[in-house]
Symmetry: C2
């Protein structure tokens, strides 16, 4: 791996494990056993590294939530794909979700990039729900697609913060994030066609079982 | 009003208008035209004032969400009462919701009080949903009452943060908070008994109209 990529990977790991506010460029350099000068050869400052991590985040969202169309979209395998992608983004970038408004409001450039990604994500999620409506998996009234999309985005974006507020320990385990995935499914449950009940129950059980599996916080 | 109460009221106003992090005890004293020494006669520090504000918040939650029981609970007037109370708490204590995890994680005593209040609130909200089930207003499957309660708490607790992340302007208007109330209603909509549709539509229209009314951020 190139030094530049190693810096980004190490920063992401340390941010997630220790909280972004507690990690400096010096910590990142020390963790990699390189000099701060070497780090500064690749990145101007910590925000510059965060922009690079954000790019990975945006690429992941774009790739994972471009809706599958046609009859294939009605396959539970595809739903697992979307729900696993939600878990991945919550876990892999949990430092970002733990501190979203701080990180955004101190960096207007990053905030603008975030808003652009959010708009694109909203369009993709709406298309996805419409496709699931068309394939008679869901039956969401037309005027509820937009607000439901927003509620889903909100639950995913603030699940980490909510769980952190609900506990004296600010660390987040994988189990807690799987609960978030199960919660997303529960939000959609009232809109599933009755004949999809069995498949929905299987999905639910899968993520609820993962949510019950003890896992060390901060270890994959 | 006693000086002690005036300090609390001024602190709440300034926190809401300028963000809690930007307001010091000196600002609060200056705003009231009293000396910092006079303020320190009543409160040890800013956190001490926040504890006093938190007490008001907790009392409001307790009073507003103790469920009405019996047939009266099926009256739309009672639902307006609950939904207005949600708006009030989101608006009146918006500084707290704008910065929830920061405020809680720097003060473990406050965090413990918060968790106690949250537990009591969860019990009240669950009783409320069960009562609405019993009165055949809602039809929520038993095993969904607990997670739905949590989702409702989460949407209310992080609506301000979500809206703040969705805009370059961190200020929050009343209209945006009424959207949050409308969103709470939309979460419950799939569980309303079909014959309650007309009453639900009236409730929805009321809060959606308020959400469309332009209002100055930070002014009541």
């Amino acid at each position: 791996m190139k030094t530049k990529d190693r810096i980004v990977a190490a920063a992401l790991q340390l941010f997630n494990e220790q909280g972004e506010a507690n990690v400096t460029t010096n910590h990142i350099a020390a963790h990699l056993g390189i000099s701060p000068g070497n780090l500064y050869y690749h990145f101007r400052n910590k925000n510059d590294i965060i922009h690079r991590i954000f790019q990975q985040y945006a690429e992941h969202l774009r790739k994972s939530f471009t809706p599958v169309t046609g009859p294939a979209s009605a396959s539970p395998a595809v739903w697992f794909h979307y729900l696993d992608a939600i878990f991945y983004v919550m876990w892999e970038f949990r430092f970002f979700y733990a501190n979203l408004n701080d990180i955004l409001h101190r960096d207007p450039e990053l905030h603008k990039k975030y808003l652009a990604v959010q708009r694109e994500l909203a369009v993709n999620l709406q298309a996805l729900l419409r496709e699931l409506n068309a394939q008679q998996v869901l039956a969401i009234p037309d005027q509820e697609i937009d607000p439901l999309t927003q509620t889903l985005k909100m639950v995913v974006s603030f699940w980490v913060s909510y769980q952190s507020a609900q506990s004296l320990d600010p660390r987040i385990s994988q189990a807690v994030l799987y609960e978030g995935v199960a919660r997303v499914l529960l939000l959609l449950k009232p809109y599933f066609h009755p004949e999809k009940g069995a498949e929905l129950a299987k999905l639910s059980e899968h993520y609820q079982a993962l949510a019950r599996t003890p896992s060390d916080p901060f270890h994959k």
